[in-house]
Symmetry: C2
Subunit: 546 residues, 2 copies
Amino acid sequence: MYEQHRDTLDKALSAIAERAYWSAFPESPSPRVYGEGAAERGKEAFEAYLGKPFPLTQPGPQVGAERSPYGIDLGVTYPATDVETLIATARAAMPAWRDAGPPARALTCVEIIKRLNERSFEIANAVQHTTGQAFVMAFQAGGPHAQDRALEAVAYGYAAMTSSAERTRWEKPGKGDPVVMDKKFTVVPRGVALVIGCNTFPTWNAYPGLFASLVTGNPVIVKPHPRAVLPLAITVQVAREVLAEAGFEPGLVQLAAEEESRLASELATHPDVRIVDFTGSTEYGDWLERNARQALVHTEKAGVNTVVLDSTDSWRGMLGNIAFSLSLYSGQMCTAPQNILVPESGIDTDEGHKSFDDVASGLAGALGKLLGDDARAVELTGAIVNDAVLERVENAPSLGEVVVESRALKHPAFPDAVIRTPVVVKVDRSREDVYGREHFGPIAFLVPTSSTEESLEVLRRTTAARGALTASVYSTSPQVLDAAERAALEAGVNLSCNLTGGVFVNQSAAFSDYHGTGANPAATASLTDPGYVAGRFHLVQSRRPA
Amino acid sequence: MYEQHRDTLDKALSAIAERAYWSAFPESPSPRVYGEGAAERGKEAFEAYLGKPFPLTQPGPQVGAERSPYGIDLGVTYPATDVETLIATARAAMPAWRDAGPPARALTCVEIIKRLNERSFEIANAVQHTTGQAFVMAFQAGGPHAQDRALEAVAYGYAAMTSSAERTRWEKPGKGDPVVMDKKFTVVPRGVALVIGCNTFPTWNAYPGLFASLVTGNPVIVKPHPRAVLPLAITVQVAREVLAEAGFEPGLVQLAAEEESRLASELATHPDVRIVDFTGSTEYGDWLERNARQALVHTEKAGVNTVVLDSTDSWRGMLGNIAFSLSLYSGQMCTAPQNILVPESGIDTDEGHKSFDDVASGLAGALGKLLGDDARAVELTGAIVNDAVLERVENAPSLGEVVVESRALKHPAFPDAVIRTPVVVKVDRSREDVYGREHFGPIAFLVPTSSTEESLEVLRRTTAARGALTASVYSTSPQVLDAAERAALEAGVNLSCNLTGGVFVNQSAAFSDYHGTGANPAATASLTDPGYVAGRFHLVQSRRPA
């Protein structure tokens, strides 16, 4: 079954090995690639869900209280299946899925991902109206980019499961006849897996864990954030449809919906839950690591992402790139920069020496140019995802000297959407109590340092203490770039150098860029790498004389 | 450096993928393979250590109180370097080792292993007189077999570090010119590693963790069991010698010697210790898992290994094989069988139907034949490693009905050696409180069950509850063998079927057999498989426009 996906799987395997550009799914939402009318049909499908029970065949009373950051109540409800039923269903579905073996599981996963891709527009609308992302971003990050990460996880899982022979005839020379044994090695799943979704990237952040666990033989319970259920409900529905079609129990993938936030802890500490994947706050991630002791726990938590400015041969390119990185989805990305470290003596650029204040005003100018027109700006910033972020933006001026003010934008189509441009606050380098922790949202700090050397030391120190998912440096000096690479190695953070064009520090490309490293507190592992998949399965052998 | 080992590394890589027979080191201690006089020189080298400070260039006062289970005081002392010095030395040695990269590290590790191999006779004497193993076993398991496991760990670590490109040029088609980025991906170590050795297999059980951590870039602190220091002191000495020769800090491998047992806990919970490998008791393994929260903890703990008798076409072969498995090193192996489950109605064999009592007397006969001559028997049983084991053997008759008595043997060369043959006790199947836990040492239980089906259910239940490193089944029925394989998969334990010749359930071959699975409580991972090496390093990337 699904043998037609062999080629896709092989290409994914070769892409993870080569780390060169490859993508299974086009990221452009154009009718040319997704077909005429696809956008309209996706929107209609999304709208058809509103105000109704979501069509998912799981038992339980209906719950749901999602409200779009764009100001509309979704009114979709979902079955709230109780915990013991979820666990029992998952366990019952496991043996046949285990026995199917790695190739059948991998090809079935590819089919699920392909069908998710066909529903990218529907998912994009669901992502937009649960996260506040602008539509194009919701399409790309919530659709094809998330699907690529899913396929990448399937490829890594498949590679890990099949790196050694499944069977062998073992002949050991002896004094007389050789000793001959037939041995077989079976991949067995770790057990029931739990994926805890987040509010801002419900699909992109959930797919790696979901597919890494599923391909390695584990049934998966998907517990979405109560404010971002719909994108994962569609995902679960698609997975169940494909699994049933392939002759497996749809209970291999289940939704755990709720209106409050208590299910995650109950599920994560259940003795039968053996894998937990979580993206979200450091506080809750640490709680999971401490309390879900029976499980393999992978977390991606908060971090403090840093930009080190030393010098540049593209003053405008640099400012434009940073302004874009701060504005994209209003900085509500775990990869968005927060701390911009600049020598107090300023930096050398292709437009001459720029003082610290020149950098501040240059950044203000770049942000103003990028976000000057409300109607265009909202397609970059999206909406503020929740009140906690809004409160942080509004309180940010109290943290230092405001060098770029946050501005409220009006959305032409959604009058109730809450939209804010980034605030940039100058903070003294002695105030590590302020810039040394994460302020999630459109909040950045411009910090004067005594030198680039000190900037790198701050990068090293804050990353080691609080974690980071990205770091960035601008310099025309090979020595400084080398020193920055060394600081990033020691801090265990992925580094981008001299981004002045269309690549942004926030973005990581599937099959090439690692997301997270596991080497600093922001994450326990890099998403989708060998360390991410390895513990999700075991090998059990049987041997007998031939 | 050490480029001459490329071929060995390549062969090891291909052997882990194929799982067919391959061994880098001959297991026969014959002068033909290890050279004329090698045995004598090894013995002399061992004897030269006795009663003196061991030649290891580490700071600290001398400690040591090893006494051979064969009844002689070793009188060797070792530097007791303090914890903070160990940690600081390890950390200082790390950056250059990281920067050397995977191939240089792997080839250096192969050179260390090759030199350990050259000192196999010396190590064999040290293993014999710390563990109580008989000489030939101390040579094989403590020498070449341990060295093969070390090489296997190096190969797995190398494969995991190099499965993806180290550098790539990434070209993404754009609207105009393509976006071109140069990316590099660097392996960074997790941090200081701790290996906690055990009393019974100081080298075999320590080498996988030691070499898996070292090849992936981590400095290693080796904390031997206070009663089995010498084999690991020699190992540390060899590693330091090779590292220094290759231009690295010898502090990458250090010994943490002590006379009591307090160092392990202090080191394991030190904030700078990031990896812990432990073999030993369930109680302490669980303590480490609960308390060494800052570290990746791999443990191999106790288990209850089971033999299911259903039927056989080689009655004598079966009895002889089981008798050997129970007697080898007096059952003081984590892989030795403990529970022999037999239908109360007996079993069909090539010598006709045998009742439960026939099985008991057959086993008594096989043990009597195998161990009848003291001088020959001690070369199989070795000596009892410590008083706790002796006490268990002596108390075993109180646990049920003795069907084979334990016998004290006299060693012709070591009059003070404490040697016991296995005791076999018949225990009712209702007494899972007795046979459901581990009785480490030469103690086996013969348990009558209502049927083979019930035997498999007991296997599944005890393994899931208490863990197991091995399971074994004898049956002429393909259906029963299939059911046994299924039970073993569900219990997550490696199974051996119908062993009647020269392969024993206790033994696992490097590059082919997995040792442990991670799928039951006896171990967190299979030694040396991808899951064993994956978390010991991270990948950190740097990207810049080309």
